[in-house]
Subunit: 327 residues, 2 copies
């Protein structure tokens, strides 16, 4: 029953088959795990099979044919039965606290006592999610970045009641399916990645609203500079190198005071009607001639290509990005 | 004498042979341009030849052997003579306004009247740089992202006195050496990319100072999520897709108000002694066991690998990132 049982892969129950749920299902099947899906969607089996077939080609590990994943995939609309005999539960219900609290209270009673209970929430911490549970010790937040079968990051958040063993098992579980989990040392509203994203978006909106660049030009600036940089070299490492042989210390010694002044100059736009209209009109102009599935496929193809390019580099280097992850 | 002369590649004069100057020299040589270097550094020829040999393997286009670049490279310590017979001047002097103003006043008199005069400054706009010139019409800022022979972005900024013909020639020139120039529609302090970088750094410092993550963990979060995303898909395009088939309009309709609230929650750290000490200690812990050249080589190798992976994808797709750049 233990997820770290070395003799067989863990059985996973995925609750919810929206975009995130489908991504997880695809990823787990791609790693040969058996997956039970609990979904309230009508015709869930058909929708999930179609979704997996659509997502599977973007798995960094390669493709998975319908013949291969069919025997690993099952459906159980009854939540109690869906979790009764599982090793790991991955919850992807809508972001409503009461709904999730009820769900975890019920899962806590129906799942085996040592099952790992993971939530993909981007909003709530484990203490809030587990408020109605008798034993919330195995409840851990594992917040993925969309789509979870492509983007490696999972932000892991433990609660007051979470055991360190459950955290360790969570990290091992995500690593076993090729993810890059990072354990936050304390909960914070919106976790880390979305806060960073939000900070960059704020200045992006400011630059467009000020008429310095358009939406399309802003995107070009990012992909051709800081995006490329940050896909390979985190911001602190980048500035450490920006300081030359003297490292971050040298960089901050020359630029430390300028940073404070530069931060004061950053914009603080508000998302009023006029700003929203401007952004939407420019986005329509930039992307409106392409269909949603077409743009999604391009995004996932490009991200998979980057991950494939970086994988051998990370392996080749004894202290590459993957190693730092576990430091 | 025209940089866009189609019968022969332009002759380029690079002023300054620091990190940025060396990157430009390597890039131009890699594209078969003849380069005259004007540098005040002692033993400039030896230093430049060593630098080019070190940087050349990171050219996305491949490697350039010393035998190939030697005949294209010359040195002229006299500034008047260095620019007297050139098509394009690329200035990389230290970031001091008076020094650059004097330099451009002199270049303006000594260079051919139709030579393109480009500055790599990250600080000053063309009107300030050209304040002491008689004819500043060909002076344009082309601010690269370090290192300029690897990272494609060049932020192009025109002044009040810059002609549109000079801007067009500038864009063509950077594209001819494989760069992705983006013309800012108006000057703004620190231009766009560094402002965006600064916005993300501010929240990064906040998260470390609050003890949510360490320097190394913050870097991992970025490389494994938003970095990967933004190397391939700019922030607006990403949020356009985040809205599903309804696009950015749908995304903002559900999250617009939350954005304002989220921005209010972002941190506003100051770079005080304590913060600097904390960051430096954690950076030493994370990167201190690796040498500077080793880390730089890794950064440039990884960035080149990503660019190589994205190049065919961009070509394959009729409306890929490269196409949007010229939209």
């Amino acid at each position: 029953m233990n997820a770290q049982n070395e003799t067989r892969p863990p059985k996973v129950t995925v609750i919810g088959a929206g975009t995130i749920g489908l991504g997880w299902i695809t990823l787990f099947l791609g790693h040969g795990l058996s997956v039970t899906v609990n979904s309230r969607r009508e015709k869930a089996p058909e929708l999930v099979r179609e979704g997996v077939a659509l997502y599977a080609p973007h798995l960094p590990e390669g493709t998975l044919s319908p013949d291969e994943f069919a025997p690993l995939l099952s459906f159980e609309p009854d939540i109690d039965r869906a979790v009764a005999n599982t090793d790991v539960v991955v919850e992807n219900a809508p972001e409503r606290l009461e709904l999730k609290q009820d769900l975890f209270a019920r899962i806590g009673e129906a799942a085996p006592p040592d099952a790992l209970l993971l939530s993909s929430t981007s909003t709530f911490d484990p203490d809030a999610l587990g408020a109605r549970m008798r034993y919330p010790s195995n409840l851990v937040v594992g917040h993925p970045f969309n789509p979870p079968h492509v983007v490696p990051l999972v932000e892991v958040v433990a609660g007051e009641n979470t055991t360190s063993e459950a955290v360790d098992r969570t990290m091992d579980f995500y690593r076993s399916v090729g993810r890059a989990p990072v354990l936050l040392r304390k909960p914070i509203v919106a976790f880390a990645a979305n806060r960073l994203q939000s900070a960059l978006l704020r200045e992006s909106v400011h630059l467009v609203r000020e008429g310095v660049v358009t939406v399309a030009e802003l995107d070009d600036i990012v992909t051709h500079s800081i995006g490329l940089r940050w896909a390979t070299t985190g911001p602190f490492r980048a500035f450490h190198l920006g300081g030359g042989p003297g490292g971050l210390r040298a960089w901050l010694a020359t630029l430390g005071a300028n940073l404070d002044r530069g931060w004061e100059l950053l914009g603080s736009p508000s998302m009023d009607e006029e700003t929203i209209s401007m952004l939407v009109a420019q986005a329509d102009e930039a992307f409106g001639d392409r269909s949603y599935p077409d743009l999604v496929r391009e995004r996932d193809n490009l991200q998979s290509a980057v991950l494939k390019a970086l994988a051998p580099a990370a392996e080749r280097l004894p202290d590459g990005p993957e190693e730092v992850a576990s430091a």
